[in-house]
């Protein structure tokens, strides 16, 4: 029974990783951009929510509604003025620019908010749990997984049911032809990054309410998120959810054997999946 419990906790943890990864997956799928600053942008989102809560006294679930549009604007500006200039066949420039951004955000936060850990307090809901047969599940982890499924469902609807989604897919498949059809790739990319940062803000809210955070934790989150995206396969959002759950379950199983092995087991699961399926579990697009 303890194994079943571990498995369930792992799936719930996977929900959080899928949320970290969803924005990344969107951007990666559409423009092949590897955003090494994604983890730090999530942490930035958490500080933004903290700031909104501090000024207005709102609950984190409400504060995220104010923070999200700000992050959308940031994503739009970032893509329009910086990232669009470095996209191209050579993967080095976008990699290095986002790496630079990561260091700038991390140390900017460190200078402004110090290295002290922070937390977004959500009140009584943090400690509540539901009992399902022999297994007890926290309400917050359940909400996280539900949000991950919800976010990915909405992104898929956007992707396959709207004109914007069609533009996303068209640009992803063939940017030059899409341009001939009157789509402006740079605007499409700006929308995509904006949306990715809105998702990152949702992820930031759960990151901040479930555990402490400080400016230095971004890169580790980035690594888990990337593992989820790559395991899932390029361009598949449901694949990203599956990837997040693979990492979450692997980490939970590893931790059950020896707490020091939690992260290691996640990494090893990633390596094993890639050895067997170098393009991930459900690849949609060709790289």
């Amino acid at each position: 029974m303890i194994w079943l419990d571990t498995l369930v906790q792992g799936i719930l943890l996977g929900g959080l990783y899928a949320l970290f990864a969803a924005g990344l997956s969107l951007v990666f799928g559409i423009m092949r951009l590897v955003n090494l600053a994604h983890g730090d942008l999530i942490v930035l989102g958490a500080y933004l929510i903290l700031g909104v809560m501090h000024v207005t006294g709102l609950h984190p679930f409400v504060a995220v509604l104010i923070a999200a549009p700000v992050m959308f604007g940031l994503g739009w500006l970032l893509q329009t003025h910086v990232l669009n200039r470095v996209l191209g066949d050579d993967i080095l420039p976008p990699l290095l620019v986002t790496f630079g951004l990561s260091v700038v955000i991390q140390n900017g936060l460190l200078e402004s908010f110090s290295a002290n850990s922070q937390k977004l307090t959500a009140g009584a809901i943090e400690a509540q749990s539901v009992q399902l047969g022999p297994i007890s599940m926290g309400v917050m982890p359940l909400l996280t997984l539900a949000s991950a499924v919800g976010v990915i469902f909405l992104l898929n609807q956007l992707f396959y049911r709207t004109a914007l989604g069609r533009a996303f897919r068209a640009t992803s498949d063939d940017a030059t032809t899409a341009q001939l059809m009157g789509i402006s790739p740079s605007r499409v990319f700006a929308m995509a990054t904006g949306i990715a940062l809105v998702v990152a803000t949702v992820a930031a809210m759960y990151l901040g309410t479930r555990a402490n955070f400080d400016p230095s934790i971004g890169p580790a989150r980035l690594l888990y998120a990337f593992e989820a995206v790559i395991i899932g396969g390029l361009g598949s959002l449901w694949g990203t959810l599956a990837g997040g759950i693979v990492i979450g379950v692997a980490q939970a199983l590893g931790a059950a054997v020896n707490p020091e092995w939690q992260i290691l087991s996640g990494h090893i699961a990633f390596v094993l999946v890639l050895l067997l399926r170098p393009r991930g579990l459900f690849p949609r697009a060709n790289d």
């Binding site: 993967i91 080095l92 290095l96 620019v97 951004l101 140390n107 690594l223 992260i263 990494h267 170098p278």
Partner: protein
Amino acid sequence: MANSSPSTGRFAQVALGLALVAALAAVPLVAPRAVTQDLFGILTLLVLAMNWNMLAGFAGLVSVGQQAFVGIGAYFMFAAVILWGMDPLVGVLIGGLAAMVFAVPMAFFAFRLHGAYFAIGTWVVADIARLLAGQWKALGGGTGTSLPKGTTKDMFGVQWVKDVLDVSSAAAADAVTYWLALVMAVAMLVASYVFLRSRMGLGLQAIRDNMQAARSVGVDPTRLKAAVFLLTAFGTGLCGALIFIQITRVTPDAAFSVLDWTAFVIFVVVIGGIGTLPGPIVGVIVFYILQRLLADYGTVYLIVLGLIGIAIMLFARRGLWGLFTDRTGIDPFPLRHRPPAAPKS
């Protein structure tokens, strides 16, 4: 430049280079220990940067996992000294070899991945190495361990330097590690130049510029890239082991730090000029000046470094050295081969 013949220009450059190396070698004899230690830091950063430049700038392998080799080099040097009772300098060699051995399975995994996947894959493998180092209980596990007191005093050559120069054994140990760092930097520079001017180097640059065309004339990309991956793992491991003789204490987080051993290195190469030989040298100098100028403002130099890196990628992809050669047309390390003269008709 236009007036002098290539051979006299070449000769003057070699003479200038030798003079510079001689001056650098004399530093421990004349300068205070703090200067020697500072220069040791610069030279080791330079060696790491030249290795990464070889990988990313010439072989097109953008690795974010170089900290794996630094950490493994450091850990095996410690193991050689503490567990196997060897001289630290032998430990450095073992550290370099261990890093190269680790690079073999790492290459089998990472070479299945391309571009961005390769970058993330190497990072994950480096993190695995960090977590495994934390499980090495004989070397302190997660909290790490220190070199036994007096280890560097008994190091090969230290007693001799101490007697000849009449200095304390700590200063003599600094001098020995410093000279080794200088030898590594010069060897790396010369080896890179010779390698890049060779057939293999030409093949490497051909792959970087156009993979299909290179294959069609018989260049084997995987073999060449694997060779560069293993050799730079060796160089990075050696350098990592040497750095940790100076630090004398090793922990998984410090030895496998992505910021110290990969992020800084990437910025140094990008700012100086990726894919150029003198780029890392220029980058290291800029890095050092920034760190000095902004020493009183905490991590502000990192922010400035990041912003400069971004600006370089946006406006001058071949870095400061690329700007310099484009503007002046001077290139003391030409990697281009002159095309054969057109047949006279």
